[in-house]
């Protein structure tokens, strides 16, 4: 029995996992009996699956639950936290703009003050009458 590639792909892993209905499993075994390459592929996959399955289980840190509860409590006690962070960010931008504007205004005033007297002084300059 020849199987098209997508069908073979669908069947092989499901067969390996014993997730095929009995009839399909039997049909796939018939196909395997006539296909040494498929048998080889199946054996290799079986090995990979068993290696992955033998990876050690990993447990959550001992204080995991406490940490989650703490985070939940923190959020409950400050429900506006997330919005506040946005406001704070906007406020920061606004602050920078205000400071820059104020600095620019001050600079302009300073410049004005520095150049002002020179211009004002000119008309008051005493010109000595020509003899």
């Amino acid at each position: 029995m020849a199987l098209s590639q997508p069908t073979r792909a669908e069947l092989m892993s499901a067969y390996l996992d014993e997730e095929l209905p009995e009839e399909e499993a039997r049909a796939f075994e018939e196909f395997l009996a006539g296909s040494p390459s498929a048998r080889e592929e199946l054996a290799e996959l079986r090995r990979v699956v068993s290696l992955v399955a033998a990876l050690p289980t990993v447990d959550a840190p001992a204080d995991f639950c406490e940490k989650v509860s703490r985070r939940v409590r923190r959020r409950s006690s400050a429900p506006w936290d997330s919005r506040l962070s946005v406001i704070t960010f906007s406020f920061q931008i606004l602050s920078v703009v205000v400071i820059l504007t104020a600095a620019a205004l001050l600079m302009m005033i300073e410049l004005d003050r520095a150049s002002g007297p020179l211009e004002r002084d000119r008309p008051n300059e005493v010109v000595s009458p020509q003899p």
Binding site: P6, A9, E10, L11, M12, S13, A14, L16, D17, E18, E19, E44, L45, R47, V48, V49, S50, L51, V52, A53, A54, L55, P56, T57, V58, D59, A60, P61, F64, C65, K67, V68, S69, R71, V72, R75
Partner: protein, 232 residues
């Protein structure tokens, strides 16, 4: 077939999955699953009524599975812990939207899978590098179905050299697993690491059955190719 070292039956606190076991064994698993679902249902009701102890109980029941999923998906302990915490925070926040017509376990896993996917995208954008190998951590330990030691990669041959070879192989598997496409990695972690049955994976991922079967097969082929240099 339940994977030998999978987390499917990692102790009484974990929910039993419907595995392919026959006769009496299947009935027992069915009963255990029903009992776990009923317990979850009660805890969810209490949580909805504002009982924080119920929430803590749910966290303790599922923390190892969710942390394990996160760690195998992300490959970095610190990031995985933060991600797993985020999953439970989402559960706490969104418990009102859980209708209760499906298993809580499936709903929780759906949240975990989505959170993992989003985090992977985010970390990819930030060129994140996995810095702490999973198997190097002291918490990494082999457990069997009864909580005792299961067949470990290094157990087939005795001696410190074999142990070292086993550790290297474990590290290589984790590394190559982490190098797979996230969609492929997810299916291998759910099925081969955590021992989840196809029906549960379909519910969690929303995939079609044919897609699941072919994608899982492609994922395994890809991992097999990547592991070839380590297995010869």
């Amino acid at each position: 077939m339940a994977p030998a070292g999978s987390q499917a039956f990692e102790g009484l606190s974990s929910p039993p999955l419907l595995q392919d076991v026959e006769g009496e064994g299947q009935d027992t698993v069915h009963d255990e699953r029903k009992a776990a679902d009923a317990r979850d249902h009660r805890l969810v009701l209490r949580l909805r009524n504002g009982d924080d102890r119920a929430f803590e109980e749910l966290v303790r029941i599922y923390q190892n599975r969710i942390f394990g999923l996160s760690l195998r998906m992300i490959g970095n302990r610190q990031e995985a812990e933060d991600l797993a915490q985020e999953v439970f925070m989402t559960v706490h926040r969104a418990i009102g939207s859980y209708r209760g017509d499906g298993r809580f376990y499936t709903w929780l896993y759906r949240i975990a899978v989505n959170t993992c996917k989003n985090r992977i995208k985010y970390l990819k954008g930030r060129h994140f590098h996995r810095s702490v190998p999973v198997e190097d951590s002291p918490e990494a330990q082999v457990q069997g179905t009864d909580g005792g030691p299961a067949v470990a990669l290094q157990s087939s041959v005795a001696g410190p050299e074999a142990m070292a070879v086993g550790h290297r192989l474990q590290a290589a598997i984790q590394r190559e697993l982490a190098a797979l496409e996230p969609e492929h990695r997810l299916l291998i972690v759910l099925r081969d690491v955590q021992g989840m049955p196809y029906q549960e994976i379909l519910r969690v991922t929303g995939l079609q059955e044919g897609t699941l079967k072919s994608r899982l097969h492609r994922a395994r082929l890809a991992l097999k190719e990547r592991l070839k240099p380590h297995l010869t």
